[in-house]
C-alpha cells in the first residue's frame, strides 16, 4: 500500500473533525474491502481515519419495537445477537451469509452500507425493511440513502452512526452467491411490514440495490410465492459478467424472490 497518515479517533466528533480537516481522507470501518484495496494500491488516500475505537458506534439495542444497530457493529455480532434473532431473524440470517468467518468478525454494517457495493447483502436488508440510517448530521430513510453503484446520500464529512430497523411481520432473505467471491450475485429480501410489502433486490442491479415494485404490488393483496408467478423481470439495467449475464440474473431475481417468500412463510 501507499503511505498515508493514520488516525484513530476516540469519539465521533473527533472523527468528523478529522474528516473535515483532511481533504483526501478516507474512513475505515472494518476494513474488509478497504484494506485489500489499499494493499493492491488501488487507492491512495492522504489520511485514513480508523473508526474502530469509537465506542458510541457499536452495539445492538431494541428500540421502538425494532432494532438499532451501531455502525461499527460486526456482521458476526449481528448474526449472533439474541435481540436481532428474536426481533428480526431474517436480518441475523442475512448477516450470517456475508463473506466468511474472518470477514464477519471484522466487517461492519456501517462500512458495508457506506461503501454500497452493488453485490453487498446489507443494502438489500435496509431497503427491504425500510430502515433508517442515522448519521452524524441527520436521519436518512433507506430509500433515499442508496443513490447508485458505490454511491450514497452521505456528504463528504458525514458519518453513519447507526441503522434503525423496524420490526416486520414477516421477512426473509434468499441469496444466490457468486460462485467465486460469494458476494451476492442475486439476493432478494422480502418483508411484510405495517407499512406494506417491500421487496429489495441486491447483487443484480447496475445501480446497486433496488426495490422490485411490481412484485410489491402483486404481493400487497396476496402474500405468497404464487402471487409473482405472472411477473417477468426485465434484464435491462441488470449486471452482466462472466458469472451471470443479465438474463440469468433476471431469472434468478424471480426465483430468489419466490424462495424468500416461501421461507418467510
Amino acid at each position: 500500500m501507499y503511505d498515508f497518515a493514520y488516525h484513530k479517533p476516540a469519539s465521533l466528533a473527533d472523527a468528523v473533525k478529522l474528516l473535515a480537516d483532511h481533504e483526501d481522507a478516507k474512513l475505515m470501518a472494518g476494513g474488509q474491502t478497504y484494506i485489500p484495496t489499499l494493499k493492491q494500491r488501488l487507492a491512495r488516500p492522504s489520511d485514513v481515519i480508523d473508526l474502530g475505537a469509537i465506542a458510541e458506534l457499536r452495539g445492538i439495542t431494541e428500540e421502538a419495537g425494532g432494532v438499532t444497530i451501531g455502525a461499527m457493529t460486526r456482521h458476526g455480532e449481528v448474526a449472533e445477537s439474541a435481540v436481532v434473532r428474536r426481533v428480526i431473524p431474517a436480518l441475523a440470517a442475512l448477516a450470517e451469509l456475508i463473506g466468511d468467518p474472518q470477514v464477519r468478525n471484522l466487517g461492519t454494517l456501517g462500512g458495508s452500507i457506506s461503501n454500497n457495493d452493488p453485490a453487498a447483502d446489507y443494502p438489500g436488508a435496509l431497503l427491504g425493511l425500510g430502515a433508517t440510517v442515522r448519521t452524524s448530521k441527520r436521519q436518512i430513510p433507506a430509500d433515499q440513502f442508496f443513490t447508485g453503484m458505490f454511491e450514497t446520500a452521505l456528504e463528504r464529512d458525514e458519518i453513519v452512526k447507526a441503522v434503525h430497523f423496524p420490526r416486520p411481520e414477516k421477512a426473509a432473505y434468499a441469496k444466490f452467491p457468486n460462485p467465486a467471491s460469494r458476494y451476492s450475485m442475486v439476493g432478494v429480501f422480502v418483508a411484510k411490514t405495517g407499512g406494506g410489502v417491500r421487496v429489495a433486490v441486491t447483487g443484480a442491479g447496475q445501480s446497486g440495490a433496488y426495490r422490485w415494485t411490481a412484485a410489491e404490488q402483486a404481493l400487497a393483496g396476496n402474500w405468497s410465492p404464487a402471487a409473482i408467478d405472472g411477473l417477468t423481470v426485465d434484464p435491462s439495467g441488470l449486471n452482466s459478467d462472466i458469472h451471470a449475464s443479465a438474463d440469468y440474473r433476471a431469472h434468478l431475481v424471480k426465483v430468489m424472490a419466490k424462495r424468500a417468500l416461501a421461507a418467510a412463510g
Partner: protein
Amino acid sequence: MGRFAVGQPLRRKEDERLVTGGGSYTDDLQVAGALHAAFVRSPHAHADILAIDTATARAMPGVAAVLTAADCDAAGLGPLPCRALPRHNRDGRPMPATERPVLARRRVRHVGDPVALVVAETMAQARDAAEAVEVTYAPRPAVTDPVAALRPGAPELWPEAPGNLALDWEAGDAAAVDRLLAAAHHVTRVELVNNRVVPNPLEPRGCIATYDAATQSYTLRTGGQGVHSMQSVLADEVLKVPKERLRVVQADVGGGFGMKIFVFPEYPGCLLAARLTGRPVRWIAERQESFLSDSHGRDHVTTVEIATDADGRMIALRASAVANLGAYLSQFGPFIPTDAGAKMYAGVYRFAAVHFQVRLAYTNTVPLDAYRGAGRPEAAYAVERAVDATARELGLDPAELRRRNFIPPEAMPYRTALQTTYDSGEFARLLDAALERADVAGFAARKAAARRLGRLLGLGIAYYVEQCAGGADETARIVVGGDGKVRLFIGTQSNGQGHATAYAQILADALGVPFADIETIQGDTALIPTGRGTGGSRSVPVGGVAAQRAATALIDKGKVLAAEALEAAAADVAFADGVYRVLGTDREIGLVAVARLAGPDGLDAAAAWQPAIATFPNGCHVCEISIDAETGVPRIERYTVVDDFGTVINPLLVEGQVHGGVGQGIGQALYEETVYDPASGQLLTGSFMDYAMPRAAGVPAIDFSMIPVPCRTNPMGMKGAGEAGAIGAPPAVINGLVDALAHLGVRHVDMPATPQRLWRLLQAHRATA
C-alpha cells in the same frame, strides 16, 4: 513391527509439526540483510518494448538495483530452456525452439510477462520503484484462444511458428483408424473443451537467492518438487556455472501440483540480483501475481470419435485436439499434450486401433505446463466422455458398454493399440464393486424423489487408467547412526503428500527399527547428490523401491561387521527384526550396535532403482449429481471411488491423495474457469473474486475403497496414487450431469458446468423440447 508396517493407515509423522505452526515455508525463512524484489510485468498481452527508462526508479529511496533484459544479457544469462525438445511433427520436421528470456527482450507476449526487476531495502520501496520504471510499449494484436490462434490471419507470436502452430503431432495408426471408422456400424462423435485451470497451491511461489562472492557460489531457497532438476536447469543452461556453484534448497512446500517442478524467470532474476548487489534477495508472489506468472494447466479443445460394431464392440477411437502452449515453451510445455498422456487414449478398452493427433498453438497467455495428471486427465476425459456418449447413442447402459469392451484380466499383460503394455488390471471387478457401493440399484428411486423436489438427478460413471512412475531412476541412501537414528536421503520432494511417513513405514519394515527413529532428508543439493524429484505420482512407487533396496544393501553391508563381531561366517548370520543372529544360536547383535562398529559416521548404504516401464493405476468413479431445475445449481449427492493402486504403503495417505485429487477434479468440472478477454488479452479471472475454487461445501463425502491388483513391473507391486483423483473425477461428474439432462436431449455439457451454463442448457433444451 506390525503397527508401523507397510499397509498400515498410520497418521502422518509430519502433521504435528505442520499443524502446530512448525512448518518452514519459503516466506518463513529469515535471511539477514535481505533485499526485497518486485517485478515489473507487462500490462499488455502482446506488445513491442520500445524503451525502458529505469533512471527514476534507480534514484528512489532504498533501491539497490533495477534489472532489465540488458542486464541479463550483460551477465550472460541464458534463456529458460524447454526440456521437452527435441520433438518432431507428424511429417518429421523438428519442432522449432523459441526463446524465453529471463526478462522480456524487445517483445512481451502475455499479461504478466516480466520486464524488469527492482530490488530495494523494503517491499514497499521495491514496489514504489517498480511503478516508477517507465516502459514504452507499442501494443500488437493478441490472441488467447488456441483454436482462434490457428485460424488464418490470427496475430502471430513467433516467426519460428507460422500461424502460431508450434507442433503438429500424432500417435497411433491413422490409416487403420480411418478404415475402421469408415466401415463402422456406428460412429459417435463428441466435441469437448478441457478447460484451462490455474494450479493455485496454498503456498504461492517465492524464492530467496543468495550469492557468496568468496566462493562465487549461489544458493536458491524455493518451494519446489525436487532440487536437482532446478539445479541442472539453472546452473547448466541459465547461469552457466558448474553445478557445485549452485545449491538449491527446498524446505516445506505448500502444494505444487506439477507447477512447482519448473524454473520460472523470477528465480534466475533474483539470483542475478543477489550477485550484482552482494545481498540476499527475497521474492514471494502475491496471489494475483501467481495467476499471471504460474504455469497454467489443460486448455485443450478435442474432437473424439468412437466406432462401434453391431454388437456394441468399440473398435476404434480417433481423437483430434488443439492444445494451448501459451506464449512461451515452458520447461515441459510441449510434452504435456503429447507424450505425457497420448498412450492413454486407448483407455481400458480393446480398441483395434487408436489415433491421437494434437496441434500445439502459441497464444498470448501464461505458458501452460503440467498440472496434476498432466496429459492423462485430458485423455481420460476425452475417452470416458466419448464412451458414455457411445452408450447413450447405442441405447446401452454405460456400465454394460464398458464391461463388454474392457481388456479382461486374463489378457494381461496387454499391449494396447497405442503400443503400450498394461501389466495388470481387473476393470470389470472394480466397476462392479463401485456400482454396488454407489447403490446404483437404488438410483431410479432416488431420481424420482429428487424430481419431486425440483432436482434433476444423474448418475455418471468413469473408468480411468493412467500411467505413472515410468522412466527415471531414483537413488536412496540410508545412514544408521550410532545414536540409533536412521536417516534416509532421497531426491524426491514432498509438497504435502507425506513422503516421510511412507518412507519410514518401508524402512521400519525392512530394517526392523522404530518408526519414530526414521527421518527423511530431502530438498538440498548439498546433502543429496542426485534425484529426480516429485511428479507423475512417482515418489513412493520409485523412491520407495530405491529405499527398500538401499535397506537391503545396508543389511548386507552390516552383515560383514556383524559376522566379525559374532565371530561367525557371514553366511551363517541372518538378519531379522533389526537383529543379526548366528543361525541356530542365541548369539546376536542389533543393527545399531553394528552401526557403532562401522565407525563414527555409522553404517550407510545407497541403492538406485529405475523402472523399465510405467505403472498403470486405474479405477472407477461414480458420481451422483443433481441439478436445481430452476437455478441450474449442481450438487454432488454421492461420490464413490474404487481404485487399484496396486500395493499400498499407507492407505490413509492414499485416501488423502484421492480426496484432494477428486476435489481438484470437481473444481475443474464445476467451478474453475480461466477467462481471458479475447479483445485485450487481459486475464479476467485473475483473483479469487472471479476464479472459483472448490470449497469444502462443494466437495462431498467420498466413499473410497481399493481393490489392489499388485503391479507386475514394480518390485513392491505399487502403482502410484498421487494424481488419480483429478483424472477420474471430471468425466464422472460431467457424465452425471449429461445423464441428468439427457431426457431433454442434452448430449454434452462443457466444463466448468457452472450454474449459468447449466441453466442456459436447460433453457435451450426446454424451449426445443
